[in-house]
């Protein structure tokens, strides 16, 4: 140890100072994993949503590999849990003739400086660079324009410039903060006003389908998105090609029948309407991922250059030599090994940043599903939007439980009550993600959207969102 380029031995003591976890706890957990037989090592979708988050995600895969847990029952690959993919048919998606891709997190950049975006600097795929920026946007059933994308104030500035993205259409069934940014709103129905068949996700070796029967006629002048698209297809002269002659309900019945023919165990349509939910199981039982690879790696190679698990990635090694970073900050680094990298606005910087010394994360909140129902009165009453602050940090700032506070950095400012609690690590605040952005006349977000504070800085490899890496300060609200 200590023979890497930085010459630092990566001991539990070294990790303790960075992570805040005491060295003896790190040693104990390491021994437990190593000695307790199969250890199920899995990760959620938080680790990669940090600055340089790819290395965190890869480190967890590496831990599973180093401890011999890949491909055995009770073990794990270090990835998110898999599940039995539902057999029910889906509405056909069609083929997108455009093969050029950008990261989902790059859409505001593609509006603001599209033609400057390149493969090596911005992760453009299928082309060396973008030829044009985004000029038209269809935002369906999301709140991406004004709550769910990083640095809301920056995003709104970009969207307000009509010379950039010229036309924004929002399709939603609620007047979201994003819908307010649209040039045109097409009011969609709720699920109770249309037919659908919803399959399961993340259900182990089980799967199910829920019959979503139309319960009431669409309210006001709203239309199911399928009918909206049908209307547009008609104007474009491709109605028959789009609908294949089916209404929304007929599509559900047709997809169900197709599913049933291929899977005779599926109940008849009328029976499914009666029972509402149909649950079934993977005929091959529980699966152990990469079992085949473990048993015979030569016959079952992985999709890596070597066919093996590459803890040292030869592809990333090549990328680390060729990919470019404009004004690289700490954390803007591609490493072939999943090293720890101190990053912009990370835990280490927090200790020496006098202006913004507190880390901010945005946990998923029980009052909403992301931003869905962020406007509903009863859930808002049951689960008011508050910033979680440790008792130590609150006391140092004269903040008591339920005091109105302002959380801020150079990107924005939110005003919501404080939840002063022992349930969060000192030095860290959490603003539950998904609240609807609601600026007052001074631009202070009184809805408490965490993305008013987060940074647009993409992660180095995937150019994905590192929004859980944010530094800010908190103070008691004046007045």
């Amino acid at each position: 140890m200590g023979e890497g380029p930085d010459g630092i031995e990566k001991t539990p003591k070294w990790a303790a100072s960075i992570t805040g976890v005491p060295a003896d706890v790190i040693t104990r957990v390491a021994r437990e994993i190593a000695l307790s037989g199969p250890a199920n090592i899995a990760q959620g979708w938080g680790p990669q949503r940090h600055a340089n988050g790819e290395n965190q995600a890869r480190a967890i895969y590496t831990l599973a590999a180093l401890t011999g847990n890949v491909g055995i029952p009770g073990g794990g690959t270090g990835g998110r849990e898999g599940y039995y993919w539902p057999v029910s048919d889906w509405f056909p998606e069609g083929d997108n003739p455009v093969k050029t891709q950008i990261s989902v997190f790059g859409w505001t950049d593609a509006i603001a400086r599209g033609p400057e975006m390149t493969a090596l600097r911005d992760g453009v795929r299928g082309k060396d660079k973008l030829d044009v920026g985004i000029k038209f946007m269809l935002a369906y059933a999301g709140n991406m324009l004004s709550s769910q994308h990083a640095d809301i104030n920056r995003t709104r500035e970009i969207l307000k410039d009509t010379k950039l993205c010229e036309f924004i259409v929002v399709v939603d069934n609620q007047m979201t903060a994003s819908a307010k940014m649209a040039d045109l709103i097409l009011p969609d129905t709720t699920t109770a006003e249309r037919w659908d068949m919803a399959p399961s996700e993340y259900t182990g070796e089980t799967a199910y389908v829920i019959m979503c029967e139309k319960a009431i006629e669409p309210l006001f002048n709203s239309k199911p998105s399928y009918e909206i698209c049908t209307g547009i297809a008609k104007k474009l002269g491709i109605e028959q090609k789009f609908t294949e002659g089916r209404t929304g309900e007929e599509w559900v019945r047709w997809l169900h029948e197709k599913t049933r023919q291929a899977n005779p165990h599926f109940p008849q349509f009328e029976q499914l309407r009666e029972q509402g939910v149909y649950r079934y199981h993977d005929p091959s039982g529980h699966q152990v991922p990469l079992k085949d690879f473990r048993e015979d790696p030569v016959a079952n190679p992985l999709e890596t250059p070597s066919g093996k698990i590459e803890i040292f990635s030869s592809e990333l090694w090549a990328m680390s030599k060729t990919w470019q970073f404009d004004n690289p900050g700490p954390g803007d680094r591609i490493t072939a090994l999943p090293e720890h990298v101190d990053t912009w606005e990370g835990a280490v910087e927090a200790r020496t940043n006098p202006k913004y010394p507190l880390q901010v994360i945005g946990h998923h909140f029980k009052g909403r599903t992301h931003s869905t129902y962020g406007n509903a009165a009863w859930p808002k009453e049951a689960h008011p939007q508050k910033v979680w602050i440790s008792e130590i940090d609150a006391q140092a700032r004269g903040i008591a439980n339920d005091d109105m506070v302002e959380v801020f950095n150079d990107r924005g400012r939110i005003r919501i009550p404080a939840k002063v609690t022992a349930r969060i690590l000192p030095g860290v605040m959490s603003v539950p993600q998904g609240a609807w952005f609601s600026p007052d006349e001074k631009g202070v977000d009184t809805g408490g959207a965490v993305n008013t504070l987060t940074k647009i800085h993409p992660t180095p490899i995937s150019k994905g969102n590192g929004q859980h890496t944010t530094l800010a300060q908190v103070e008691k609200a004046r007045s």
Partner: protein, 205 residues
């Protein structure tokens, strides 16, 4: 003899989602500010700091609470118009025709079960979904709980099955009203009156 009814709450299962509370509001069309079933968060503990590292010693648990249809309901005792009464099945109800909205019951009840409805000018409260029970259904809160932490039934049966515990922090001393409530306590639950934590969400109650 009619069986006296009560609620059962398995605190080991509750994660504070408040589906019970919202289902109650939905079924009874309660406006914001009138909430017959509420969920308390009780939390405490400390962080031990050593240099840059911290070790947590922290606990939290939730308590879902509606009217406990008490054996000695203080709301009935303080009601100056006899609007609040206790039925043969132990269910405490308010007769809106007699209630003058003086709110004495609200102040007296240690569980804040009776709630003033400013639109009607009367008190309102949980009747354990009498209409649902008459149709053989569970009360809305019991049916809504995704963790199956709530149940209801004859209090004798609930006590025989789950024991006699009717209070942990932050609930009041059960000797005040003798609630028809049985609790299976959370592993970190602290005895009423001697807790080391604090009510974390006072404004939500």
């Amino acid at each position: 003899m009619t069986e006296q009814l009560g609620f059962y709450f398995d605190q080991t299962l509750c994660n504070g989602c408040k589906a019970c509370s919202v289902a109650c509001k939905d079924k009874n069309d309660l406006k914001v500010g009138v909430t017959w079933r509420r969920v308390a968060e009780y939390s405490g503990g400390t962080w031990q700091q050593d240099g840059d590292t911290y070790v947590p010693n922290v606990f939290t648990y939730y308590t879902s609470m509606a009217c406990n249809h008490c054996e000695d309901p203080i709301c009935v005792r303080v009601c100056p118009t006899t609007a609040t009464t206790r039925g043969a099945d132990g269910i405490v109800t308010v007769d809106a025709g007699k209630c003058v909205g003086c709110r004495y019951c609200e102040w007296a009840c240690p569980y804040s079960a009776p709630q003033f409805n400013s639109e009607t000018g009367h008190m309102s409260k949980c009747d354990m979904c009498a209409d649902y029970r008459a149709e053989g259904q569970d009360p809305a809160c019991v049916a809504a709980c995704p963790a199956r932490a709530l149940d209801w039934g004859p209090i004798k049966e609930l006590r025989a099955k789950h024991g006699d515990l009717a209070a942990v922090e932050p609930l009041p001393d059960p000797s005040i009203t003798r609630p028809h409530l049985v609790i299976t306590p959370h592993r970190d639950a602290q005895p009423t009156g001697t807790g080391t934590g604090a009510l974390a969400n006072p404004k939500e109650l």
